[in-house]
């Protein structure tokens, strides 16, 4: 194929790609309710937790979690089955490159983390963190020592800020659970 043919193909592909791209209404990848059911399908009750941190707890969590990106709104639910606590569901927001990423995670009563779910991603750059394989890296982690960025949770080249910030956010959730939500934690 000559350079002429190839450039014609590229321009044609460009135009065709733009025209053929389906225009759909933006929607969340997953709703909060769907995330809750994904994490704890056996639960029959998800009660939102209004959490109060003592200054001492906040200090401990801040130190343990390590550097944090700007966060948005954090919500927590206790998932129960016939009154018995199964674990907690977290929906958190962290800055990706320039805009907030909304993601969800869960920690069961044993302190085991789930894979994370991306509920909303708002910018084109860094969208690779939706990769199923990348999100699955968080599954079964049980301590902050297992949640080190680049070492335990691999970076995504081209989506470094998004992958680093989400990892840091999950570290906060783990530290929060360990110090304020763990069944035997002092409240």
């Amino acid at each position: 194929m000559s350079a002429r043919d190839l450039t014609d193909v590229l321009v044609t592909l460009g135009v065709a790609g733009l025209i053929a791209s389906p225009v759909v209404i933006a929607a969340d990848y997953m709703t909060i309710e769907q995330a809750q059911k994904t994490f704890f399908p056996a639960a029959d009750d998800y009660q939102e937790v209004a959490l109060a941190l003592t200054p001492s707890q906040r200090q401990t969590i801040t130190v343990n979690a390590g550097p944090q990106p700007p966060h948005g709104h954090l919500r927590i639910w206790a998932a129960r089955h016939q009154g018995a606590l199964l674990g907690h569901v977290f929906v958190d927001e962290v800055i990706g490159r320039q805009d907030l990423i909304t993601y969800a995670a869960s920690i069961d009563t044993q302190g085991t983390l789930s894979a994370i779910e991306i509920l909303t991603y708002r910018e084109s750059h860094g969208g690779e963190i939706r990769s199923r394989a990348w999100r699955a890296q968080f599954a079964d982690k049980q301590s902050l020592e297992q949640l080190r960025f680049r070492t335990d949770i691999k970076n995504i080249a081209g989506a470094t800020l998004s992958s680093e910030h989400v990892t840091q956010g999950v570290r906060w959730l783990m530290a929060l659970w360990q110090n304020a939500l763990r069944p035997d934690a002092a409240s």
Partner: protein
């Protein structure tokens, strides 16, 4: 709550007196009951107050952003502000009198979100600290585009945007690459920071595939200056248009694919092509194709990167015939590749130290189209550069760099570099 309790107490006292006369025992019993009710109300009141205080303190987010969403949206919440910059000191080994210190780049970015699906992104760059008639600095709009989310996995951009090519072009901030200066292949062969005006669509899948397809402005071969060495330093860098009164008779097209479905791995490639004559007389059928393939793998603390790129401009012989006698004719082919390895010997939560080495081989004029016997330029020799040094991530977003560059065939270029970069 307190007024309710007082009212209840008053009604309780007045009620019985107004209905019938009571005995002393009945009154005492009623008072006792009322006393117990007041105590219960006091306890309830104290509990409610305590709960209210706890809820005020319930700000479990670690950020500067308040946990509660503001009742009314503010203009500031739609604005985002970001930037990066780098400065360097470069000292040639054999010619220390040519040592240079420079504020290479100072970039400020502003984004604005119009609605849930539509945002504006821009970057304004000042190179070399001062831009004036007497100075070599430049002010450039590096990016300015509107991005519209068509679906959760689909975005469209229109405006001036970065071409999704190589490992560096879209991720060119100093905290994102090893070495004080960007590598030669992604500067001289791929003209980072390469941007064009146009429209592009980007999609990602949960399987880890990202695809980009777009149409845009391209290069203008009529900008080739055969009297300067600029075209020999970077063929495409010397004819890029950067959406500055860009000739746009012919559009270019590009397709890029990247796969990152395995954590720690990124593999991808891009093809970009278009007419670079822009319909101007004497530049008929001059077409550019540039393609590249790249891979990055980060097993543990190590990081290994590789990239190969090759460009081809067709029908250059008629143009070069008019330029014979000048020092820099238009190449038909140019290429480059590099291999880079880095290892984080120290890896703390807030800082890290990573030595690296990189080998590059590139040629900005590897082939010239045949003009006539004795007139066709000889191919340039391949250039080889070894770079070794370290990146010290001083804090998240701040990097200190040092390296030494060894030019295998141009010893005069050997130099020591020191750099400071940041991104926020």
């Amino acid at each position: 709550m307190r007024s309710i309790a007082v009212t209840l107490l008053g009604l309780s006292l007045l009620g019985p007196l107004g209905v019938h006369a009571a005995t002393q025992d009945e009154l005492e019993a009623k008072l006792q009951a009322l006393s117990e009710q007041v105590d219960a109300l006091k306890t309830e009141l104290a509990k409610l107050k305590s709960q209210q205080q706890q809820q005020v303190a319930a700000t479990p987010t670690p950020s500067v952003t308040p946990a509660a969403q503001p009742a009314t949206p503010s203009v500031a919440s739609n604005l985002s502000f970001f930037g990066y910059g780098e400065m360097s000191y470069s000292r040639p080994s054999d010619h220390p009198s040519e040592a240079v210190a420079d504020l290479n780049r100072f970039v400020l970015g502003v984004g604005y979100r119009f609605d849930d699906r539509t945002r504006f992104v821009s970057e304004l760059e000042l190179e070399h600290a001062v831009s004036s008639a007497e100075d070599s600095g430049e002010i450039e709009v590096e990016q300015a585009y509107i991005e519209r989310q068509l679906g959760q996995q689909l975005f469209v951009k229109a405006g001036l945007f970065l071409i999704p090519i190589g490992l560096l072009n879209e991720n060119h901030e100093p905290t994102r690459y090893y070495g004080v200066f960007r590598n030669f292949v992604e500067t001289d062969i791929i003209p980072t920071t390469w941007r064009e005006g146009g429209v592009t669509v980007q999609g990602t899948t949960e399987g880890g595939l990202r695809w980009d397809v777009g149409i845009s402005t391209g290069f203008n071969l009529a900008k080739w200056d055969a009297t300067s060495s600029e075209g020999q330093e970077s063929p495409l860098g010397s004819i890029h248009q950067e959406l500055s009164l860009a000739r746009a008779r012919d559009l270019s097209g590009f397709v890029a694919l990247n796969y990152s479905g395995v954590p720690g791995l990124r593999v991808g490639g891009t093809v970009f092509g278009g007419n670079v004559g822009q319909g101007q007389p004497g530049f008929e059928d001059t077409r550019l194709i540039i393609w590249e393939g790249h891979a990055r793998w980060t097993p543990g603390r190590a990081e290994i990167s590789a990239l190969y790129s090759r460009g081809h401009i067709s029908n250059t012989a008629p143009v070069n015939l008019t330029l014979v006698g000048n020092p820099t004719l238009i190449p038909e082919s140019f290429f480059g590749w590099y291999l880079e390895g880095a290892y984080r010997v120290i890896d703390r939560e807030t800082w890290s130290l990573a030595p690296f080495v990189r080998y590059e081989r590139f040629n900005t004029g590897s082939e010239y189209a045949f003009i006539a016997q004795g007139l066709t330029p000889s191919a340039l020799p391949d250039q080889q550069v070894f770079t070794g040094g370290f990146n010290w991530m001083l804090a998240p977003g701040v990097v200190v760099k040092a390296d030494y560059q060894d030019f295998r065939h141009q010893r005069a270029g050997d130099r020591f570099n020191l750099g400071l970069g940041y991104q926020f």
